[in-house]
Amino acid sequence: MVRLKSRYLLCEVCVSDRSHLLLLDDGTVQNAAKHALIQAHGDYGFAHSIFGFSVKYLNAHTGIVLLRCRKSHYRLIWSALPFITGLKKRGQKVPCFFNCLHVGGTIRTCQKFLVRYNTQQLHRMLPLCHSEEERSAIRKSVLSCTVQKDADADSEEDIGEED
């Protein structure tokens, strides 16, 4: 048996005000993506790519979204993502855009990439700290998370919160 292959698009939701990120949920992201897909490719393109399309993971603190789609049509979905201008949630619209960070074949590779990416972000942000205390506080919080095994997801969240 050949397994059904998919592609995972690891995206970052960029907003002007980071507090809006907490409004994110699976439904709004999926709706926005579907809406953009219809606008960009019409009913035919929508029908082609909608099978197997889902939001696999969403982190409202860091604004990371993992979208899953079939391998055969992932470029259709990817090319529709730039047309998302905002997410609608309960009548209020949050202007944002999606920035695709990585395209992977499995969730595992995406997770590995995300850990590496977040480490990079941490190195980018550390010099921006105002005082030595702040810096050591962030280091401590990161270290306290990675002590446990299987704590990758936790440490990622922390980086976002300290930002």
């Binding site: 907003v15 960009a40 855009f97 695709c100 960070l101």
Partner: protein
Amino acid sequence: MAVFMDLNISYTTNKKRLQSVIETAAQLGYSTVAINYVVDLQQKKQEIVKPKSVSELFKTFPIVQGKSRPIKVLNRLTVVASEPSHFRPTVDYKAYDLVAVFPQTEKLFHAACMTFDVDIICVAVTERLPFFFKRSPVNGAIERSVFFEISYTHAIRDHTMRRYTIANAINLMEICKGKNVIVSSGAEHPLEMRGPYDISNLGLLFGLSEEDGKAAVSTNCRAVCLHGETRKTALGIIHTIKKDPALTDRVEEDAPASKRAKIEMA
């Protein structure tokens, strides 16, 4: 890793907004951006202004994502030409790093491709093409390594514009076969920027292949920058700069030493 560039960021007098757009570009991974000054000589009282010095904009330039270098900012002039007299290469043009032209008629398009001393030819994205692209001028432009530009911000803002953008882009691709095309943003707000990988994939809609799509945001843009440099210098070989009076003595001392070294080597 390729170096990504976005050669069209609209100039606004709002300095804060311009800063935040450039910061977003650095965050997304663009290593070079160009601030675009548009001059439409059709309207009265339009003059070519001197570009603001980029060092006024930031004290320290933001660091590019994934690199350790700060972002490079260029100045670019776009001349909207609807009459042949509009494009006159004067001293004013020399102040800019890049010069682009936006031809409105077929004759001017032909002239822009074949004779004008420009780096970029803009393609209309907000309206139906006023003329058809012909093979001979487009081939001439490719031979002279002048690049065609498609900006995508209008496509994101509005869906009728999106149709025009895609239609005009596909029209161009049929003639130039994906060569000598750059895709740039034309963003006024930070939220109108998109990541470089997204844009190279967006090339799929414009009729670019995967390779050409990536070249449109990286290597082709680099070629444009180098072309702009050759206009400033004598064929890109000799570069003249104003000598700093404080440094004169030291430079003169250095010159014979380097000559001697060469002779010894030979």
